[in-house]
Point group: C2
Chain length 295, copies 2
């Protein structure tokens, strides 16, 4: 898929440019928190969520000015979640995308504030007039983002994950944890494109189903790579779920059945795109990329 | 001011009821983060910011359904900032409003997530359709809230405060720190009432001037109480700025001049309310309460 990988790289570049523009530099000593926000946001990465926003918004011919802002905002949220999850009192990780994590580069207090600042800036960007001409749309984006990432979404998922070592989770419980911790923001990425594009009920439903299956397939592949992957290639510590004794799709199903499950989910995800015919190509290519990726 | 203190207590009760309604209980292990959010939010407190929102919105006959939601959202933001500021890597406080701080009651990870959850829920509440019939208003509230509390507002102020031990701040620098760390959210509280009430330019300007002076007076009184106050009465550790060698208005100006300055600011704040004639009474009573409070 050389064409697809070019598209992915293009959107990653656009996202980096938007992030760099939207996270201001600062003067005075408080600039340290802005530096930390930039350090963690501009560390590379596949920019999967921005890709989902932009590719979904493209289905409806939304202006790239709108979709790039929302894409950058969602990436800020993703980065905030990584910065806080990496903290010593949470997952205690030193390395992220091949570089020291935010609290290692700065300190814990700065990392907590950088996360807080990124989360807040995401809402500032989404609610800003440049994102869409209609306040109704901007408010809907802010509302649905908050629902996806709050205590009943992403934040609740991280709470569940932290407590998971104390409980022996089964497949339905792991599925629920993943839906909250990573699935909710992936789903919102597609939903955001649909909101910007004023998609109809049926189209929204199909995109939600696509995002649901894609998110789960993505997580299973992540678990497989965590087990099989090479720390150097991944740019982060691998095998940590296994070391922590945490149940994953792979530990519960075995690698072979997990891989099978990911394949089935990917095929399902692609099937949901039929309603968009040829226009759905980018999103279906993404699903294939997710299942084949090596990091 | 017995009448005023009844009003303040009434609004505190309304705020508690709104917070209790808006922060859901949860099922499953992730309910721990919702418990922590409720624990820290429903710990009493003067509810100064909710009072400002509601009293300002009342100037424009805004429905209480709207102003109470926004008031509760702002109190969630205030609580999130306290929960994160109290963390060991920040101000490292064990006691807040006479009870163990969130990370002492639960643990650090839960406290970080509870803060994240409260910040996120504040945006969910503000952007929700029940807050106002117009998306334009809801988006403006979300935008201005984010501006007030981000890296160039409250979060930046906390970064400045953490670094303040390393610099010898003078009065203009302390004023800037206070404007960012506590002033920005106090100002937004009045601004929110004005946005809900579709206040005119001149009215907004006067309310911003009122909030500016009130915020500074509030901080000076806080510094005086921190120095003179009794830990038991205050429900938190006192004298800590002094112990940390941090400059405050009081350490720089002396108690007498600081008190004088607070009186001048309060008189100025009240003067800005003249445009509202009799209707401004609640806000001017609040300014007098702030200067006379003992905790």
């Amino acid at each position: 898929m050389p064409f697809f990988e070019d598209e992915l790289a293009d959107i990653a570049r656009l996202t980096d440019a938007a992030l760099s523009r939207l996270i201001p530099g600062g003067e005075g000593p408080e600039a340290q928190v802005l530096d930390a926000m930039r350090y963690s946001s501009l560390a590379g990465g596949k920019r999967l969520r921005p890709f989902l926003v932009i590719a979904t918004a493209d289905l409806f011919n939304v202006s790239r000015t709108s979709s790039e802002r929302v894409a950058a905002a969602i990436e800020m949220v993703h980065t905030y979640s990584l910065v806080h999850d990496d903290l010593p009192s949470m997952d205690d990780d030193d390395l992220r995308r091949g570089r020291p994590t935010c609290h290692m580069k700065y300190d814990e207090a700065t990392a907590i504030l950088a996360g807080d600042g990124l989360l807040t800036l995401a809402f500032e960007v989404i609610a800003g007039a440049e994102t869409h001409g209609l306040g109704e749309i901007r408010a809907e984006l802010a509302l649905e983002l908050a629902r996806a990432i709050g205590a009943q979404g992403m934040v609740g998922g991280q709470m569940l994950d932290l407590l998971a070592a104390e409980h022996a989770l089964d497949v339905p419980e792991i599925t629920r944890l993943q839906r909250m911790k990573t699935g909710a923001l992936i789903s919102f990425s597609c939903q955001a494109g649909a909101i910007l594009g004023k998609a109809g009920e049926h189209q929204r439903h199909m995109l939600a189903a696509y995002a649901h299956d894609l998110g789960l397939a993505f997580q299973i592949v992540d678990d497989l790579l965590d087990l099989e992957g090479d720390a150097e290639e991944m740019g982060k510590r691998t095998g940590k779920d296994d070391q922590a004794g945490k149940a994953t799709f792979v530990s519960l199903l075995g690698a072979e059945r997990a891989r099978e499950q990911a394949n089935i989910l990917t095929a399902q995800a692609i099937k949901h795109l039929e309603v968009f015919a040829e226009k759905g190509k980018l999103l279906s290519d993404l699903a294939e990329f997710v299942i084949k990726r090596r990091k």
